[in-house]
């Protein structure tokens, strides 16, 4: 019997090794798998490369992982927020490497890793500092910038409902990076608020097919807390 359901968050992150690349879903607070990030922090892995749209805020989740100097590098689009003080301090001290990627390039580079695409070209960033060092190629007279996939060892994502095969549906705009990160990592761990029987999820409505998910852990539903707006 295929059963991807694990009893605890701790079990789900137990084999994340030092130096691993870990994708963390979420846009602002929506879809941030804080429970899994806390489990990763308690587990103790360090020297991590983190991929997230942001770089932590407040004094919880990813921000604490950064505060405790467990993150070597972060790949993200928008680290600066009203309460990103732990990121700000680590970045300014020079201890934390930042790869700043426009959000569309970030999401597509993640998707490319998930679908076996070795590289692709976009117009985005042409003529800007973020294209420096990247190959430029013209198609029909228009310059495009080469983008390479972002692979990960683990993806930690938050979904709403799942079944033992790993099929997932999400909650509202908390979907954001979850589906593409699930595809891009060797091992995707999803939390869900409800585990349902096989067949209970409408096949027409499954967002992430179970093939992309290795582990599922049920957690209680807690309303996503509000965030301070972008500065």
């Amino acid at each position: 019997m295929i059963n991807k359901i694990l009893p605890t968050l701790r079990d789900a992150v137990a084999d994340i090794k030092d130096g691993a690349t870990v994708m963390i879903g979420g846009f602002g607070g929506a879809g941030m798998p804080n429970e899994l990030v806390d489990a990763l922090r308690e587990h103790g892995a360090k020297n991590l490369t983190i991929v997230n749209n942001n770089a932590g805020n407040g004094d919880f989740g990813l921000a604490l992982l950064i505060k405790e100097k467990r993150v070597r590098k972060i790949i993200c689009s928008f680290p600066r927020q009203a309460d990103s003080h732990h990121f700000d301090a680590a970045y300014r001290s020079g201890e934390l490497e930042l790869e700043l990627v426009p959000q569309g390039n970030l999401s597509e580079r993640i998707r490319a890793a998930g679908v076996g695409v070795a590289g692709f070209y976009v117009r985005t960033t042409f003529g800007t500092p973020l294209a420096e060092g990247k190959e430029i190629r013209e198609f029909n007279g228009v310059p495009f910038v080469l983008q390479e996939p972002i692979h990960a060892d683990f993806a930690l994502i938050k979904a709403d409902k799942g079944d033992r095969w790993g099929n997932l549906v999400y909650r509202k705009a908390a979907r954001n990076f979850g589906p593409v990160m699930a595809m891009a990592a060797k091992c995707t761990v999803a939390t869900v608020h409800e585990i349902v029987e096989l067949g209970a999820l409408d096949p027409e409505a499954v967002i992430t097919p179970g093939i992309f998910v290795k582990r599922i852990v049920q957690i209680p539903y807690v309303p996503t807390p509000g965030m301070k707006s972008k500065v």
Binding site: G28, G104, T124
Partner: protein, 210 residues
């Protein structure tokens, strides 16, 4: 006299035809939504994976799984849909959006945009969806003050701040005027009420055609 921020938002809204799919940037552009005529049907796109975004919820009804790009709670209109981030940015990159309205630090007369980084050494860079949006929509409008707090023109021959996109801006809406920008330079579309061409030109860092 010049346009107030509200009047400016209403002026931008005039140039968004009914049926358009529109992305409104964070800050001043967000207020354009309040001025879409009731007779118009506009679909608002949010970079985090929403089409058909509605207004802010009533107090007590906020759900922070349903937020806009500025991370403020929003609602959905009938007909709305959710999708993942790569699809959302694919909608931009491939030109499926009709209009996007962005804020800016500087716009060049050729339509180059600088709106993500002042280039200050100690500033923490953050780009978000700015570069994707700038080059993505069929038409990119910029909505900004005509001059900086110190009085310098934000419409410039060449952007001194790091670029967000090259030649991507079609129109600039300021408190003083609406200008077209592009390969042929800046051209006047409309002056705000009570603003003379000479006054506007005197505050503009490039020669404005008329």
């Amino acid at each position: 006299m010049a346009w107030t921020k509200d009047q400016l938002a209403a002026r931008v809204a005039q140039d968004i035809p009914t049926g358009s799919v529109v992305n409104l940037g964070i800050g001043m552009p967000t207020s354009v939504a309040n001025h879409i005529p009731a007779t118009h049907e506009i679909i608002l796109h949010s970079e985090n994976g929403i089409l058909g975004m509605g207004p802010a919820p009533a107090p007590g009804e906020e759900d922070f799984d349903l937020i806009n790009a500025g991370k403020q709670p929003v609602t959905l209109n009938a007909g709305a849909s959710y999708f993942h981030s790569a699809d959302s940015f694919g909608m931009m990159r491939a030109g499926h959006l009709d209009v996007c309205v962005l804020g800016a630090f500087q716009v060049s007369e050729k339509g180059d945009l600088a709106n993500w980084h002042t280039g200050a050494k100690d500033a923490i860079p953050a780009v978000g969806g700015a570069m994707d949006l700038a080059i993505g929509a069929k038409k990119t409008f910029v909505m900004m003050d005509h001059v900086t707090k110190s009085g310098a023109s934000k419409i410039v021959p060449h952007c001194s701040y790091p670029l967000t996109g090259v030649g991507c801006v079609a129109r600039v809406y300021t408190d003083l005027a609406v200008l077209e920008v592009g390969p042929n330079g800046a051209k006047l579309v409309e002056l705000a009420p009570g603003v003379s061409f000479e006054e506007m030109q005197g505050k503009t860092g490039v020669v404005v055609g008329r």
